[in-house]
Amino acid sequence: MSSDQELIIQFQQSVNKEEVFTQLMRKHQQKVYYQIKRMVLEHADADDIAQLVWIKVWNKLDGFKMESEFSTWIFRIAYNETLNYLQKQKKQSTRLSNDDLFAYENASGSSDEPKSTEIQIALDSAIKQLPEKQRIVFMLRYFDGYDYEKIAGIMGTTVGGAKANFHQAVKKIEKFIKKL
């Protein structure tokens, strides 16, 4: 598979635009989708936003100057679109409904383990209480293994800000767990 840069150049030269764009989508669609889903939790919402994101990318890709990585650029668009969506829906990521908690509980992990241990409840609360930015930074850092520069690029913040958000998130989780 061609690199992102090669695909973008082909796209910008109007060479088989749709085919090239499809290749770009196959490379990045999962990560984009999961990034969005971490913020909105429901598949239907994540799907809607993901579609908006990719259509926006199609419209703007001709003007993309490759000053940053394509993945950083698209994740930035996804992050902003999700925030816009949440604002419109008047949802706050720290205020999760019982359905959302249920979604969290059934997300992954071993099905053999008990689902309502104290530590799980505490962790649920900890994640629930994290401000949106801290939660996203925490997810991107811990689960996706992104460096702070990439996270800063996605969130539109500084490297220092991304680090601070991550460390704050971890401290809050620690505080919640220690209460047990």
Binding site: T22, Q29, W58, E105, E113, I119, L123, Y142, F143
Partner: protein, 157 residues
């Protein structure tokens, strides 16, 4: 070198997090591999391309509509203007012709005809005059003495 440093930093961060919470517990929040519906990612690109094509066609139709309407609007305005100007011109011409016809007709009538007309209609004119006089006389006869005196005074003064 930077990549290695970053890798090290990431490992330290992860270890720090895992010292607080077990990895298994944290994995429950890693919404990455079990949360999309079956076949979602296989069909997603096609869905997006279809949507893009649809939006492109709608844009073309909109542009065509706007162009067509704009073109049509221009023609409509021009036609209205022409009708207005033409209508005014025709109306104006018709008025002028009418008055001209009258003038020309009057001027063109020979004197003999005019005299004949007057002579032929003199009798009728006398009749009309008599009728008018009789009518006025009848009106005067119905007036009372006091009213007659008032009228006489008004005439004298």
């Amino acid at each position: 070198m930077n990549q290695e440093k970053e890798k090290e930093s990431l490992q330290l961060d992860q270890q720090w997090v895992e010292s607080i919470v077990e990895k298994n517990e944290l994995n429950r929040f890693n919404l990455t591999h079990t949360d999309a519906p079956f076949n979602y990612f296989e069909s997603f690109p096609e869905k997006i391309i279809s949507r893009i094509q649809l939006e492109k066609n709608n844009t073309k139709h909109s542009a065509f509509k706007i162009l067509f309407l704009y073109h049509y609007a221009k023609i409509a305005v021009a036609a209205t203007f022409i009708l207005l100007v033409g209508g005014l011109y025709l109306y104006d011409n018709a008025s002028i012709k009418k008055s001209n016809i009258e003038i020309v007709s009057m001027q063109e009538i020979p004197n003999e005809e005019i005299i004949n007309y007057v002579n032929n209609n003199e009798a009728l004119a006398e009749l009309d005059l008599d009728l008018a006089i009789n009518k006025e006389n009848a009106a005067l006869e119905s007036l009372g003495e006091i009213e007659i005196q008032k009228i006489q005074k008004a005439i004298i003064h």
